[in-house]
Protein backbone atom coordinates (compact mmCIF):
# COMPACT_ATOMS: atom_id res chain seq x y z
CA UNK A 1 0.00 0.00 0.00
CA UNK A 2 1.22 3.48 -0.92
CA UNK A 3 1.86 6.04 1.81
CA UNK A 4 -0.54 8.46 0.09
CA UNK A 5 -3.28 5.77 0.16
CA UNK A 6 -2.65 5.08 3.84
CA UNK A 7 -2.81 8.79 4.59
CA UNK A 8 -5.99 9.14 2.50
CA UNK A 9 -7.62 6.21 4.34
CA UNK A 10 -6.72 7.69 7.74
CA UNK A 11 -8.11 11.10 6.74
CA UNK A 12 -11.30 9.56 5.40
CA UNK A 13 -11.61 7.34 8.49
CA UNK A 14 -11.42 10.43 10.73
CA UNK A 15 -13.96 12.22 8.52
CA UNK A 16 -16.31 9.23 8.82
CA UNK A 17 -16.12 9.43 12.62
CA UNK A 18 -16.91 13.15 12.46
CA UNK A 19 -19.79 12.63 10.05
CA UNK A 20 -21.38 9.87 12.15
CA UNK A 21 -20.66 11.63 15.41
CA UNK A 22 -23.55 10.12 17.37
CA UNK A 23 -23.02 6.55 16.26
CA UNK A 24 -19.27 6.86 16.72
CA UNK A 25 -19.77 8.23 20.23
CA UNK A 26 -22.16 5.39 21.07
CA UNK A 27 -19.61 2.85 19.86
CA UNK A 28 -16.75 4.51 21.72
CA UNK A 29 -18.93 4.72 24.84
CA UNK A 30 -19.75 1.02 24.73
CA UNK A 31 -16.12 0.05 24.28
CA UNK A 32 -15.16 2.40 27.11
CA UNK A 33 -17.79 0.75 29.37
CA UNK A 34 -16.70 -2.70 28.27
CA UNK A 35 -13.00 -2.12 28.75
CA UNK A 36 -13.56 -0.21 32.00
CA UNK A 37 -15.38 -3.21 33.45
CA UNK A 38 -12.77 -5.46 31.94
CA UNK A 39 -10.10 -3.36 33.63
CA UNK A 40 -11.92 -3.53 36.97
CA UNK A 41 -12.24 -7.31 36.74
CA UNK A 42 -8.69 -7.69 35.51
CA UNK A 43 -7.41 -5.61 38.42
CA UNK A 44 -9.40 -7.79 40.84
CA UNK A 45 -8.17 -11.01 39.23
CA UNK A 46 -4.56 -9.78 39.19
CA UNK A 47 -4.79 -8.75 42.83
CA UNK A 48 -6.35 -12.08 43.77
CA UNK A 49 -3.56 -13.90 42.03
CA UNK A 50 -1.08 -11.70 43.82
CA UNK A 51 -2.76 -12.29 47.19
CA UNK A 52 -2.94 -16.03 46.57
CA UNK A 53 0.76 -16.01 45.72
CA UNK A 54 1.44 -14.06 48.89
CA UNK A 55 -0.67 -16.55 50.81
CA UNK A 56 1.14 -19.42 49.22
CA UNK A 57 4.43 -18.09 50.48
CA UNK A 58 3.09 -17.35 53.97
CA UNK A 59 0.36 -19.92 54.56
CA UNK A 60 2.16 -23.14 55.07
CA UNK A 61 1.83 -26.58 56.57
CA UNK A 62 3.42 -27.58 59.86
CA UNK A 63 4.30 -31.24 60.34
CA UNK A 64 4.79 -32.58 63.90
CA UNK A 65 6.28 -35.95 64.74
CA UNK A 66 5.50 -38.82 67.12
CA UNK A 67 7.00 -38.52 70.60
CA UNK A 68 10.54 -39.85 70.91
CA UNK A 69 11.06 -40.17 67.17
CA UNK A 70 14.65 -40.66 66.01
CA UNK A 71 16.35 -37.91 64.05
CA UNK A 72 17.08 -40.29 61.13
CA UNK A 73 13.35 -40.93 60.87
CA UNK A 74 12.68 -37.16 60.82
CA UNK A 75 15.24 -36.80 58.01
CA UNK A 76 13.56 -39.60 56.07
CA UNK A 77 10.14 -37.91 56.43
CA UNK A 78 11.72 -34.66 55.25
CA UNK A 79 13.17 -36.36 52.18
CA UNK A 80 9.81 -37.88 51.25
CA UNK A 81 8.03 -34.53 51.58
CA UNK A 82 10.74 -32.69 49.65
CA UNK A 83 10.18 -34.97 46.64
CA UNK A 84 6.54 -33.88 46.28
CA UNK A 85 5.71 -31.50 43.40
CA UNK A 86 3.46 -29.33 45.62
CA UNK A 87 6.37 -28.38 47.89
CA UNK A 88 8.11 -25.10 47.27
CA UNK A 89 10.22 -25.01 50.40
CA UNK A 90 10.67 -27.19 53.46
CA UNK A 91 12.37 -26.02 56.60
CA UNK A 92 13.14 -27.97 59.74
CA UNK A 93 12.34 -26.22 63.02
CA UNK A 94 13.99 -27.95 65.98
CA UNK A 95 12.28 -28.05 69.39
CA UNK A 96 14.79 -25.45 70.66
CA UNK A 97 14.08 -23.10 67.78
CA UNK A 98 10.34 -23.58 68.30
CA UNK A 99 10.67 -22.62 71.96
CA UNK A 100 12.85 -19.61 71.12
CA UNK A 101 10.37 -18.43 68.52
CA UNK A 102 7.47 -18.93 70.91
CA UNK A 103 9.24 -16.94 73.60
CA UNK A 104 9.94 -14.08 71.20
CA UNK A 105 6.39 -13.90 69.97
CA UNK A 106 4.51 -14.49 73.21
CA UNK A 107 6.66 -12.86 75.90
CA UNK A 108 7.66 -9.54 74.42
CA UNK A 109 7.04 -7.38 77.48
CA UNK A 110 9.52 -7.04 80.35
CA UNK A 111 7.11 -8.32 83.03
CA UNK A 112 6.62 -11.47 81.00
CA UNK A 113 10.27 -12.35 81.51
CA UNK A 114 9.44 -13.37 85.11
CA UNK A 115 7.20 -16.13 83.85
CA UNK A 116 10.02 -17.47 81.75
CA UNK A 117 12.41 -17.70 84.68
CA UNK A 118 11.04 -21.10 85.68
CA UNK A 119 11.76 -22.56 82.27
CA UNK A 120 15.48 -21.86 82.10
CA UNK A 121 16.61 -25.47 81.74
CA UNK A 122 13.41 -26.80 80.46
CA UNK A 123 11.79 -26.80 77.05
CA UNK A 124 8.00 -27.16 77.30
CA UNK A 125 7.95 -27.70 73.56
CA UNK A 126 10.43 -30.63 73.70
CA UNK A 127 8.32 -32.68 71.31
CA UNK A 128 7.50 -29.79 69.01
CA UNK A 129 10.16 -30.15 66.36
CA UNK A 130 8.49 -29.69 62.99
CA UNK A 131 8.80 -29.13 59.29
CA UNK A 132 7.44 -25.81 57.97
CA UNK A 133 6.36 -26.28 54.38
CA UNK A 134 5.41 -23.62 51.84
CA UNK A 135 3.56 -24.58 48.68
CA UNK A 136 3.90 -23.91 44.96
CA UNK A 137 0.14 -23.70 44.53
CA UNK A 138 -2.25 -23.24 47.39
CA UNK A 139 -4.97 -25.33 45.75
CA UNK A 140 -2.71 -28.39 46.08
CA UNK A 141 -2.68 -28.13 49.85
CA UNK A 142 -5.32 -30.80 50.44
CA UNK A 143 -3.54 -33.55 48.54
CA UNK A 144 -0.23 -32.81 50.22
CA UNK A 145 -1.78 -32.80 53.69
CA UNK A 146 -3.39 -36.17 52.98
CA UNK A 147 -0.07 -37.57 51.84
CA UNK A 148 1.87 -36.33 54.86
CA UNK A 149 -0.79 -37.57 57.28
CA UNK A 150 -0.25 -41.05 55.85
CA UNK A 151 3.50 -41.01 56.54
CA UNK A 152 4.85 -43.17 59.36
CA UNK A 153 6.08 -41.09 62.31
CA UNK A 154 3.85 -38.09 61.65
CA UNK A 155 1.71 -37.13 64.63
CA UNK A 156 -0.09 -34.08 63.34
CA UNK A 157 -0.30 -31.88 60.25
CA UNK A 158 -1.44 -28.32 60.89
CA UNK A 159 -2.76 -26.26 58.02
CA UNK A 160 -5.18 -23.50 57.22
CA UNK A 161 -7.60 -25.09 54.81
CA UNK A 162 -10.10 -22.25 54.95
CA UNK A 163 -7.72 -19.59 53.70
CA UNK A 164 -6.50 -21.81 50.88
CA UNK A 165 -9.93 -22.87 49.77
CA UNK A 166 -11.68 -19.54 49.95
CA UNK A 167 -8.93 -17.71 48.07
CA UNK A 168 -8.86 -20.31 45.30
CA UNK A 169 -12.66 -20.45 45.01
CA UNK A 170 -12.95 -16.66 44.92
CA UNK A 171 -10.29 -16.43 42.27
CA UNK A 172 -12.14 -18.92 40.05
CA UNK A 173 -15.51 -17.20 40.64
CA UNK A 174 -14.18 -13.74 39.81
CA UNK A 175 -12.55 -15.21 36.70
CA UNK A 176 -15.80 -16.74 35.45
CA UNK A 177 -17.81 -13.60 36.22
CA UNK A 178 -15.25 -11.50 34.33
CA UNK A 179 -15.38 -13.73 31.27
CA UNK A 180 -19.20 -13.65 31.20
CA UNK A 181 -19.51 -9.86 31.60
CA UNK A 182 -16.72 -9.15 29.13
CA UNK A 183 -18.12 -11.56 26.53
CA UNK A 184 -21.54 -9.86 26.66
CA UNK A 185 -20.05 -6.37 26.44
CA UNK A 186 -17.72 -7.34 23.62
CA UNK A 187 -20.73 -8.68 21.72
CA UNK A 188 -22.56 -5.37 22.22
CA UNK A 189 -19.46 -3.41 21.15
CA UNK A 190 -19.09 -5.49 17.99
CA UNK A 191 -22.75 -4.93 17.16
CA UNK A 192 -22.50 -1.16 17.67
CA UNK A 193 -19.30 -0.80 15.67
CA UNK A 194 -20.84 -2.83 12.89
CA UNK A 195 -23.89 -0.52 12.92
CA UNK A 196 -21.72 2.60 12.90
CA UNK A 197 -19.76 1.35 9.90
CA UNK A 198 -22.97 0.32 8.15
CA UNK A 199 -24.34 3.82 8.76
CA UNK A 200 -21.14 5.35 7.35
CA UNK A 201 -21.43 3.19 4.25
CA UNK A 202 -25.05 4.28 3.78
CA UNK A 203 -24.11 7.96 4.12
CA UNK A 204 -21.31 7.61 1.56
CA UNK A 205 -23.25 5.35 -0.80
CA UNK A 206 -22.91 7.69 -3.79
CA UNK A 207 -19.21 8.30 -3.24
CA UNK A 208 -18.60 4.55 -2.95
CA UNK A 209 -20.57 3.85 -6.14
CA UNK A 210 -18.47 6.43 -8.02
CA UNK A 211 -15.25 5.00 -6.56
CA UNK A 212 -16.21 1.55 -7.79
CA UNK A 213 -17.07 2.80 -11.29
CA UNK A 214 -13.82 4.74 -11.56
CA UNK A 215 -11.86 1.59 -10.74
CA UNK A 216 -11.04 1.65 -7.03
CA UNK A 217 -9.82 -1.64 -5.57
CA UNK A 218 -11.76 -3.46 -2.86
CA UNK A 219 -9.07 -2.51 -0.39
CA UNK A 220 -9.16 1.19 -1.30
CA UNK A 221 -12.93 1.34 -0.79
CA UNK A 222 -12.86 -0.59 2.49
CA UNK A 223 -9.74 0.90 4.09
CA UNK A 224 -11.32 4.14 5.43
CA UNK A 225 -14.06 2.12 7.16
CA UNK A 226 -11.54 -0.26 8.70
CA UNK A 227 -9.49 2.74 9.86
CA UNK A 228 -12.70 4.18 11.36
CA UNK A 229 -13.40 0.96 13.30
CA UNK A 230 -9.82 0.66 14.52
CA UNK A 231 -9.78 4.32 15.61
CA UNK A 232 -13.06 3.89 17.51
CA UNK A 233 -11.62 0.81 19.21
CA UNK A 234 -8.37 2.59 20.02
CA UNK A 235 -10.06 5.68 21.50
CA UNK A 236 -12.43 3.37 23.38
CA UNK A 237 -9.48 1.58 24.96
CA UNK A 238 -7.38 4.62 25.89
CA UNK A 239 -10.11 6.34 27.94
CA UNK A 240 -10.73 3.46 30.42
CA UNK A 241 -6.99 2.86 30.79
CA UNK A 242 -6.57 6.47 31.91
CA UNK A 243 -9.61 6.31 34.20
CA UNK A 244 -8.56 3.03 35.79
CA UNK A 245 -4.97 4.07 36.29
CA UNK A 246 -5.96 7.12 38.32
CA UNK A 247 -8.83 5.39 40.13
CA UNK A 248 -6.87 2.30 41.14
CA UNK A 249 -4.45 4.05 43.44
CA UNK A 250 -7.23 6.15 45.01
CA UNK A 251 -9.42 3.10 45.68
CA UNK A 252 -6.59 0.99 47.09
CA UNK A 253 -5.53 3.81 49.44
CA UNK A 254 -9.16 4.36 50.48
CA UNK A 255 -9.70 0.65 51.25
CA UNK A 256 -6.52 0.38 53.27
CA UNK A 257 -7.20 3.60 55.20
CA UNK A 258 -10.88 3.02 55.96
CA UNK A 259 -10.79 -0.72 56.51
CA UNK A 260 -7.53 -0.93 58.40
CA UNK A 261 -8.36 -4.44 59.56
CA UNK A 262 -8.02 -5.55 55.94
CA UNK A 263 -4.57 -4.10 55.55
CA UNK A 264 -3.17 -7.03 57.55
CA UNK A 265 -4.81 -9.54 55.24
CA UNK A 266 -4.80 -7.82 51.87
CA UNK A 267 -1.74 -6.87 49.90
CA UNK A 268 -2.48 -4.94 46.69
CA UNK A 269 -0.41 -4.79 43.53
CA UNK A 270 1.12 -1.37 42.79
CA UNK A 271 -0.66 0.57 39.95
CA UNK A 272 2.37 0.26 37.65
CA UNK A 273 2.20 -3.56 37.87
CA UNK A 274 -1.52 -3.58 36.96
CA UNK A 275 -0.87 -1.07 34.14
CA UNK A 276 1.82 -3.32 32.63
CA UNK A 277 -0.85 -5.89 31.83
CA UNK A 278 -3.91 -3.65 31.53
CA UNK A 279 -2.55 -1.23 28.89
CA UNK A 280 -1.49 -3.73 26.20
CA UNK A 281 -4.42 -6.09 26.80
CA UNK A 282 -7.02 -3.26 26.67
CA UNK A 283 -5.53 -1.76 23.50
CA UNK A 284 -5.38 -5.17 21.82
CA UNK A 285 -9.03 -5.87 22.73
CA UNK A 286 -10.25 -2.37 21.71
CA UNK A 287 -8.39 -2.29 18.41
CA UNK A 288 -9.24 -5.95 17.79
CA UNK A 289 -12.97 -5.41 18.31
CA UNK A 290 -12.84 -2.29 16.10
CA UNK A 291 -11.00 -4.15 13.37
CA UNK A 292 -13.20 -7.25 13.40
CA UNK A 293 -16.44 -5.20 13.53
CA UNK A 294 -15.46 -2.86 10.71
CA UNK A 295 -13.73 -5.44 8.52
CA UNK A 296 -16.64 -7.88 8.51
CA UNK A 297 -19.19 -5.11 7.89
CA UNK A 298 -17.15 -3.47 5.12
CA UNK A 299 -16.56 -6.86 3.52
CA UNK A 300 -20.25 -7.66 3.64
CA UNK A 301 -21.54 -4.35 2.27
CA UNK A 302 -18.76 -3.17 -0.02
CA UNK A 303 -18.38 -5.80 -2.65
CA UNK A 304 -16.90 -4.04 -5.73
Amino acid sequence: MKISTLWYSIKQGCKNIKRNRLFSLASIGTIVACLFLFGVFLSIVLNFRYMVKQAESSVGISVFFDEGIESTKIDSIGEQIRKRAEVKEIKFISAEEAWENFKKESFKEEEDQEILEGFEDDNPLADSASYEITLNDISMQKSLVKYIEGLDGVREVKHSEDVANSLSTLQVLVGYASIAVIAILLGVSLFLISNTIHMGIAVRKEEIAIMKLIGATDFFVRAPFIVEGVLIGFIGSIIPIGLLYFMYDTIVSYVLENFSVLSNILTFLPPSEVAKILIPVSIIIGVGVGFVGSYTTARKHLKV
Binding site: K2, A209, A216
Partner: protein
Protein backbone atom coordinates in the same frame (compact mmCIF):
# COMPACT_ATOMS: atom_id res chain seq x y z
CA UNK B 1 -12.32 -2.50 -28.95
CA UNK B 2 -15.87 -3.07 -27.65
CA UNK B 3 -17.85 -6.05 -28.87
CA UNK B 4 -21.15 -7.58 -27.79
CA UNK B 5 -21.67 -11.07 -29.20
CA UNK B 6 -25.18 -12.55 -29.02
CA UNK B 7 -25.82 -10.83 -25.70
CA UNK B 8 -29.08 -11.62 -23.98
CA UNK B 9 -30.01 -10.23 -20.60
CA UNK B 10 -32.97 -11.67 -18.80
CA UNK B 11 -33.73 -10.35 -15.31
CA UNK B 12 -34.87 -12.78 -12.58
CA UNK B 13 -38.31 -11.16 -12.84
CA UNK B 14 -38.61 -12.69 -16.32
CA UNK B 15 -38.18 -9.40 -18.23
CA UNK B 16 -35.85 -9.69 -21.22
CA UNK B 17 -33.95 -6.38 -21.41
CA UNK B 18 -31.66 -7.38 -24.31
CA UNK B 19 -32.21 -10.16 -26.81
CA UNK B 20 -29.36 -11.53 -28.94
CA UNK B 21 -27.63 -8.16 -29.33
CA UNK B 22 -24.55 -7.93 -31.57
CA UNK B 23 -22.57 -4.66 -31.56
CA UNK B 24 -18.99 -4.06 -32.66
CA UNK B 25 -17.42 -0.69 -31.88
CA UNK B 26 -13.95 0.00 -33.27
CA UNK B 27 -11.16 2.00 -31.64
CA UNK B 28 -11.64 5.75 -32.10
CA UNK B 29 -15.31 5.58 -33.10
CA UNK B 30 -18.04 7.96 -31.92
CA UNK B 31 -21.27 5.98 -31.51
CA UNK B 32 -24.77 6.93 -30.40
CA UNK B 33 -26.94 4.21 -28.88
CA UNK B 34 -30.51 5.45 -29.03
CA UNK B 35 -33.90 4.14 -28.07
CA UNK B 36 -36.93 5.03 -26.02
CA UNK B 37 -37.26 4.09 -22.37
CA UNK B 38 -37.38 0.31 -21.88
CA UNK B 39 -35.31 -0.30 -25.02
CA UNK B 40 -32.43 -1.76 -22.98
CA UNK B 41 -29.99 1.20 -23.10
CA UNK B 42 -29.35 1.30 -19.34
CA UNK B 43 -28.92 -2.47 -19.18
CA UNK B 44 -26.35 -2.19 -21.95
CA UNK B 45 -24.30 0.35 -19.95
CA UNK B 46 -24.49 -1.82 -16.81
CA UNK B 47 -23.30 -4.85 -18.78
CA UNK B 48 -20.37 -2.92 -20.26
CA UNK B 49 -19.34 -1.82 -16.75
CA UNK B 50 -19.72 -5.41 -15.50
CA UNK B 51 -22.31 -4.31 -12.97
CA UNK B 52 -24.47 -7.05 -14.48
CA UNK B 53 -23.59 -10.35 -16.12
CA UNK B 54 -25.38 -11.32 -19.38
CA UNK B 55 -27.49 -14.45 -19.22
CA UNK B 56 -26.19 -15.41 -22.66
CA UNK B 57 -23.46 -14.27 -25.01
CA UNK B 58 -20.23 -12.45 -24.24
CA UNK B 59 -18.84 -8.93 -24.08
CA UNK B 60 -15.26 -8.24 -25.16
CA UNK B 61 -13.54 -4.99 -24.21
CA UNK B 62 -10.00 -4.28 -25.38
CA UNK B 63 -9.56 -7.96 -26.20
CA UNK B 64 -10.71 -9.24 -22.80
CA UNK B 65 -13.89 -11.22 -22.27
CA UNK B 66 -15.66 -9.54 -19.34
CA UNK B 67 -17.04 -12.83 -17.99
CA UNK B 68 -13.47 -14.15 -17.64
CA UNK B 69 -12.29 -11.23 -15.51
CA UNK B 70 -12.23 -12.29 -11.86
CA UNK B 71 -14.01 -10.07 -9.35
CA UNK B 72 -10.71 -8.86 -7.89
CA UNK B 73 -9.56 -7.64 -11.30
CA UNK B 74 -12.72 -5.71 -12.26
CA UNK B 75 -11.14 -2.44 -11.14
CA UNK B 76 -8.44 -2.78 -13.84
CA UNK B 77 -11.08 -3.13 -16.54
CA UNK B 78 -13.04 -0.16 -15.18
CA UNK B 79 -9.94 2.02 -15.27
CA UNK B 80 -9.96 1.63 -19.05
CA UNK B 81 -13.42 3.23 -19.20
CA UNK B 82 -14.60 6.66 -18.21
CA UNK B 83 -18.27 7.08 -17.32
CA UNK B 84 -20.49 10.17 -17.48
CA UNK B 85 -24.02 10.17 -16.06
CA UNK B 86 -27.19 12.13 -16.73
CA UNK B 87 -27.28 13.51 -13.17
CA UNK B 88 -23.53 14.25 -13.13
CA UNK B 89 -22.94 12.33 -9.87
CA UNK B 90 -20.48 14.85 -8.48
CA UNK B 91 -19.52 14.87 -4.80
CA UNK B 92 -21.38 17.88 -3.47
CA UNK B 93 -19.09 18.48 -0.49
CA UNK B 94 -15.97 18.78 -2.67
CA UNK B 95 -14.71 21.46 -5.01
CA UNK B 96 -14.37 21.06 -8.77
CA UNK B 97 -10.66 20.34 -8.34
CA UNK B 98 -11.29 17.76 -5.60
CA UNK B 99 -13.97 16.02 -7.66
CA UNK B 100 -11.59 15.51 -10.56
CA UNK B 101 -8.62 14.71 -8.29
CA UNK B 102 -10.82 12.13 -6.54
CA UNK B 103 -10.79 9.98 -9.69
CA UNK B 104 -7.00 9.95 -9.61
CA UNK B 105 -6.74 9.41 -5.88
CA UNK B 106 -9.04 6.41 -6.15
CA UNK B 107 -6.64 4.67 -8.52
CA UNK B 108 -3.73 5.69 -6.26
CA UNK B 109 -2.06 8.18 -8.62
CA UNK B 110 0.90 9.90 -6.92
CA UNK B 111 -0.03 13.36 -5.59
CA UNK B 112 2.59 15.14 -7.75
CA UNK B 113 0.88 13.81 -10.90
CA UNK B 114 -2.56 14.80 -9.62
CA UNK B 115 -1.31 18.36 -9.16
CA UNK B 116 -0.27 18.48 -12.82
CA UNK B 117 -3.02 16.52 -14.57
CA UNK B 118 -6.14 17.91 -12.86
CA UNK B 119 -5.55 21.59 -13.83
CA UNK B 120 -4.72 20.50 -17.39
CA UNK B 121 -7.93 18.49 -17.63
CA UNK B 122 -10.02 21.35 -16.17
CA UNK B 123 -8.52 23.73 -18.73
CA UNK B 124 -9.42 21.28 -21.50
CA UNK B 125 -13.08 21.21 -20.47
CA UNK B 126 -13.08 25.01 -20.11
CA UNK B 127 -13.25 25.20 -16.31
CA UNK B 128 -9.67 26.18 -15.53
CA UNK B 129 -10.79 29.20 -13.52
CA UNK B 130 -13.54 27.44 -11.56
CA UNK B 131 -11.45 24.83 -9.77
CA UNK B 132 -12.33 26.24 -6.34
CA UNK B 133 -16.10 26.23 -6.92
CA UNK B 134 -18.46 23.69 -5.42
CA UNK B 135 -20.91 21.82 -7.72
CA UNK B 136 -23.93 23.80 -6.47
CA UNK B 137 -22.23 27.02 -7.64
CA UNK B 138 -22.07 25.73 -11.23
CA UNK B 139 -24.63 25.51 -14.03
CA UNK B 140 -25.82 22.09 -15.27
CA UNK B 141 -23.56 22.33 -18.30
CA UNK B 142 -20.56 23.20 -16.13
CA UNK B 143 -21.31 20.33 -13.76
CA UNK B 144 -21.37 17.93 -16.71
CA UNK B 145 -18.03 19.31 -17.87
CA UNK B 146 -16.60 18.52 -14.43
CA UNK B 147 -18.02 15.00 -14.73
CA UNK B 148 -16.38 14.64 -18.16
CA UNK B 149 -13.07 15.90 -16.78
CA UNK B 150 -13.35 13.34 -13.97
CA UNK B 151 -14.11 10.57 -16.46
CA UNK B 152 -11.17 11.51 -18.68
CA UNK B 153 -8.47 12.39 -16.17
CA UNK B 154 -7.28 8.78 -15.92
CA UNK B 155 -6.88 8.53 -19.70
CA UNK B 156 -9.48 5.84 -20.43
CA UNK B 157 -9.59 4.28 -23.90
CA UNK B 158 -13.41 4.35 -23.90
CA UNK B 159 -15.78 7.05 -22.65
CA UNK B 160 -19.32 5.85 -21.85
CA UNK B 161 -21.82 8.69 -21.56
CA UNK B 162 -25.24 7.72 -20.22
CA UNK B 163 -27.74 10.45 -21.26
CA UNK B 164 -25.12 13.21 -20.81
CA UNK B 165 -27.52 15.92 -22.01
CA UNK B 166 -30.58 14.59 -20.24
CA UNK B 167 -30.67 17.48 -17.73
CA UNK B 168 -29.33 20.24 -19.95
CA UNK B 169 -30.90 22.93 -22.15
CA UNK B 170 -30.25 22.76 -25.94
CA UNK B 171 -27.36 25.26 -25.83
CA UNK B 172 -25.52 23.43 -23.01
CA UNK B 173 -26.35 20.07 -24.62
CA UNK B 174 -24.67 21.14 -27.83
CA UNK B 175 -21.61 22.42 -25.95
CA UNK B 176 -21.27 19.10 -24.17
CA UNK B 177 -21.57 17.21 -27.45
CA UNK B 178 -18.90 19.43 -28.99
CA UNK B 179 -16.67 18.65 -26.03
CA UNK B 180 -17.27 14.92 -26.48
CA UNK B 181 -16.45 15.24 -30.16
CA UNK B 182 -13.22 16.99 -29.22
CA UNK B 183 -12.40 14.16 -26.81
CA UNK B 184 -13.10 11.67 -29.61
CA UNK B 185 -10.76 13.55 -31.98
CA UNK B 186 -7.99 13.11 -29.39
CA UNK B 187 -8.33 9.35 -29.78
CA UNK B 188 -10.83 8.25 -27.12
CA UNK B 189 -13.64 5.95 -28.27
CA UNK B 190 -16.92 7.64 -27.28
CA UNK B 191 -20.20 5.78 -26.73
CA UNK B 192 -23.18 8.05 -26.00
CA UNK B 193 -26.47 6.54 -24.86
CA UNK B 194 -29.24 9.06 -25.44
CA UNK B 195 -32.77 9.74 -26.58
CA UNK B 196 -32.00 13.33 -27.61
CA UNK B 197 -33.25 13.31 -31.21
CA UNK B 198 -31.95 16.81 -32.18
CA UNK B 199 -28.43 16.14 -31.00
CA UNK B 200 -28.21 12.77 -32.73
CA UNK B 201 -29.53 14.18 -36.01
CA UNK B 202 -27.16 17.14 -35.81
CA UNK B 203 -23.99 15.19 -35.06
CA UNK B 204 -24.24 12.78 -38.02
CA UNK B 205 -22.34 9.95 -36.29
CA UNK B 206 -22.85 6.20 -36.17
CA UNK B 207 -26.25 5.47 -34.62
CA UNK B 208 -27.35 2.12 -33.17
CA UNK B 209 -31.08 2.02 -32.44
CA UNK B 210 -32.43 -0.32 -29.80
CA UNK B 211 -36.07 -1.27 -29.45
CA UNK B 212 -37.40 -3.61 -26.79
CA UNK B 213 -33.94 -5.15 -26.32
CA UNK B 214 -33.22 -5.77 -29.99
CA UNK B 215 -30.93 -3.85 -32.38
CA UNK B 216 -33.36 -2.23 -34.78
CA UNK B 217 -30.74 -0.53 -36.93
CA UNK B 218 -27.03 0.25 -37.04
CA UNK B 219 -26.14 3.10 -39.42
CA UNK B 220 -22.90 4.93 -40.07
CA UNK B 221 -23.57 8.72 -40.15
CA UNK B 222 -27.20 8.03 -39.32
CA UNK B 223 -29.99 9.95 -37.66
CA UNK B 224 -32.51 9.28 -34.91
CA UNK B 225 -34.68 6.54 -36.32
CA UNK B 226 -38.41 6.75 -35.83
CA UNK B 227 -38.98 3.49 -33.96
CA UNK B 228 -42.54 3.22 -35.10
Amino acid sequence: MLRLEHVTMKYPTGVTALNDVNIDIKKGEFVFIVGSSGSGKSTLIKLMLKELEPTQGRIVINGRVLADIPRKQIHKMRREMGVVFQNFRLLKDRTVYENVAFAQRVIETPTRFIGRQVPAMLTMVGLGDKYKSFPKELSGGEQQRVAIARALVNNPSILLADEPTGKLDPKNSMEIMNLLEEVNKRGTTVVVVTHNREIVNLMQKRVITLKKGVVLSDEQRGGYLDEN
